[in-house]
């Protein structure tokens, strides 16, 4: 992967090749971008990628900090944001996915320092799939293997034509890989979706199930693969004919290399992580017949990166609470929607994610009651409900960083242009400035930051306790009444 900037004919025109796209989980790294003073032209980018690159020269870009909707000096905005979090008893840090892992790491550090909660986009995306990975385990591979080897692509609750427009052409259906030189003609395509989606139009077999019956269909497939008959009520329950389910089982048996691409169709419907667990068990069973893998179609650019960073910083993939001084993980209790619905968080930090547009109404209503600080690049629902808006830097364009692709492969994204302001160089820089402002405020109030600084350097505070202290601390925690 290389990026080269050349001076074009116009003095301010820049042409860059092999640019990494910061939009969806595919992290395409073959984008060409031409930028001059007024316009942006892209090649190879999809409709969403093109829209994102055009943000470099858009009229609606937020270029100055906003406090209560009015432009304010950068130092005032950072000060106000730090004040909000120092005053909060239960601050919540939502680390969005359209930013690099380096920035995420600092965000998690601030949450740990303040004893707050931290969560990321996975919580409203493939969180249940991540829980299933913990339950069952994932047989996975990289996208390179799927493009070169897969002769059966199963899209389960996924519609990549819309969510990942280049998925079919780069990594699956139409790609002519090393062992898949015939492209579409060498591959079988199965789509499992209650809608006749645009992806379903490419399918050799479309299982148009009733919503919420993924678990039953997965179970029936496993039953057939194990040599038994599915229950007689199968068609009535799922809406799929017995002929079709047997055809699906035969396609799995015949495959040399099969991939199940799971989308939000299984993670957002009833059953959630149980559906995903069953899909992973089916994958394991598929390996009796050929090579079988399962990959999650992660929607946002670096949503996999958040799981990775949080896991190597505190051991858990999402929904973490630091209020007891050590990380505790419990989806449903410390996850964003649940915390907001219960009215628990009393200050919210939202980085590079439009929660205002993408959370259910009852959760957004809580955000209207508490102070909200956001990093945003454009006007929208999140900026609308924010007390403080810090202008966002476009990662992979205006600053370099690391993105985790949907197969958990880290990709390094270079920058090729400077941000339109000079008060911050990157979202990581913004967060470091915020972290330092919070530390100064804590010190001014006589709260020592030594322990928290120590915790940040050595990982969790629990690791520095002696065994006796640890037992004592556990006793104290357990003796407290449960709220």
């Amino acid at each position: 992967m290389s990026s080269e900037a050349q001076e074009g004919q116009t003095s301010n025109k820049i042409t860059c090749t092999d640019v990494t796209c910061p939009v969806c989980g595919l992290t395409c790294d073959d984008i060409e971008v031409e930028v001059d003073d007024v316009s942006v032209v892209t090649r190879n980018a999809c409709i969403m990628g093109d829209a994102k690159f055009k943000e470099l020269r858009s009229s609606h870009r937020i270029t100055a900090p906003l406090i209560n909707g009015k432009e304010a000096p950068w130092s005032d905005a950072i000060d106000k944001a730090a004040e909000i979090f120092v005053n909060a008893k239960r601050p919540f840090f939502f680390i969005g996915s359209e930013t690099a892992t380096e920035a995420m790491s600092v965000g998690i550090e601030i949450a740990e320092m303040l004893g707050g909660l931290v969560d990321g986009n996975a919580t409203i995306c493939h969180g249940p799939t991540v829980m299933a990975i913990q339950d069952v385990g994932q047989v996975g591979c990289t996208l390179g293997e799927t493009r070169n080897r897969a002769d059966l692509d199963i899209y389960w609750g996924a519609n990549p034509e819309d969510s990942h427009p280049r998925h079919l052409s780069r990594h699956s259906v139409f790609q002519r890989g090393f062992f898949t030189g015939q492209g579409r003609f060498g591959r079988q395509i199965m789509v499992v979706d209650p809608r006749r989606s645009t992806t379903a139009e490419h399918a050799d077999l479309h299982l148009q199930l009733k919503p919420g019956t993924d678990f039953e269909v997965l179970n029936a497939l496993m039953t057939i693969l194990n040599g038994f008959e599915p229950h007689e009520s199968f068609t009535e329950v799922t809406g799929i004919s017995r002929e079709d389910i047997y055809k699906a089982a035969d396609m799995i048996k015949d495959a040399r290399f099969g991939v199940i691409w799971v989308g939000l169709g299984i993670a957002s419907t009833r059953g959630k992580h149980y559906n995903a667990s069953m899909a992973m068990r089916l994958t394991q069973l598929g390996n009796k017949y050929g090579k079988f893998v399962i990959l999650a179609n992660r929607g946002h650019c670096n949503v996999a990166g958040f799981n990775e960073v949080l896991a190597w910083q505190c051991g858990f993939p999402y929904a973490v609470d630091f209020s007891t001084g050590e990380p505790r993980y419990q989806p449903g209790e410390y996850s964003t929607v649940d915390v907001l619905r219960r009215g628990e968080a009393d200050a919210l930090f939202c980085m590079c994610a439009d929660l205002g547009a993408h959370l259910p109404k009852r959760a957004v209503e809580r955000m209207c009651e508490i102070p909200v600080v956001s990093i945003e690049t454009a006007e929208g629902p999140q900026a609308f409900i924010s007390d403080v808006v810090l202008p966002g830097v476009l990662d992979g364009m205006e600053c370099e960083g690391t993105f985790y692709r949907m197969d958990n492969v880290p990709c390094y994204a270079r920058s090729f242009i400077d941000p339109p302001f000079d008060f911050t160089k990157s979202n990581e820089d913004t967060l470091i400035q915020l972290r330092d402002a919070i530390k100064r405020k804590l010190a001014a109030r006589g709260k020592t930051t030594e322990t928290v600084e120590g915790a940040a350097e050595t990982g969790s505070k629990a690791t520095t306790l002696s065994e006796e202290e640890y037992v004592q601390r556990l006793d104290t925690l357990l003796s407290q009444p449960q709220s």
């Binding site: 409203i124 969180g127 969510s163």
Partner: protein, 140 residues
């Protein structure tokens, strides 16, 4: 009429969001509609607009779109602030709300389809909501 709601992303809605065009009429065009199966569409009286109401009584008015991509008894609304008025916070202890497969009421609607700014002002104005909610309103 009771019907099953599914929400999800589309490429055009995605392009609006990624391109920062979240406070434009284009976003309304791409996200404030409801896909309905032809049979259900006729049963509803071939409406121009539909009103979707969830189990909490929250409701939103959307453009009605007839399409055979939907099965009978199901509707689809693109991801966005309109869909999320009626998406519930029920997460089954996973953190992920009920974006898909939740029963809602659908009927012929009247009144305008709100633009994104008007919608935000109507439902989420900070000043009016500062008074707080009763526990009953906050529960799922």
């Amino acid at each position: 009429m009771e019907i099953i709601l599914n929400t999800g992303g589309t490429a055009f809605q995605g392009a609006c969001v990624k391109g920062g065009r979240k406070f434009t009429d284009e976003y309304t065009q791409e996200a404030a509609y409801c896909d309905i199966n032809p049979e259900d569409f006729v049963a509803l009286g071939k409406p121009w607009l539909v009103k979707i109401t969830n189990e909490y009584g929250d409701s939103v008015v959307l453009q009605a779109k007839k399409t055979d991509r939907q099965q009978k008894g199901e509707i689809f609304i693109p991801r966005g602030p309109w869909a999320n008025i009626v998406v519930t916070t029920y997460t089954e202890s996973t953190g992920s709300p009920a974006y898909k497969n939740r029963k809602v009421e659908i009927e012929e609607g009247s009144g305008p389809v709100l633009g994104p700014v008007t919608l935000m002002k109507k439902y989420y104005s900070k000043r009016t909501n500062r008074t707080g909610r009763t526990p009953a309103e906050g529960g799922a």
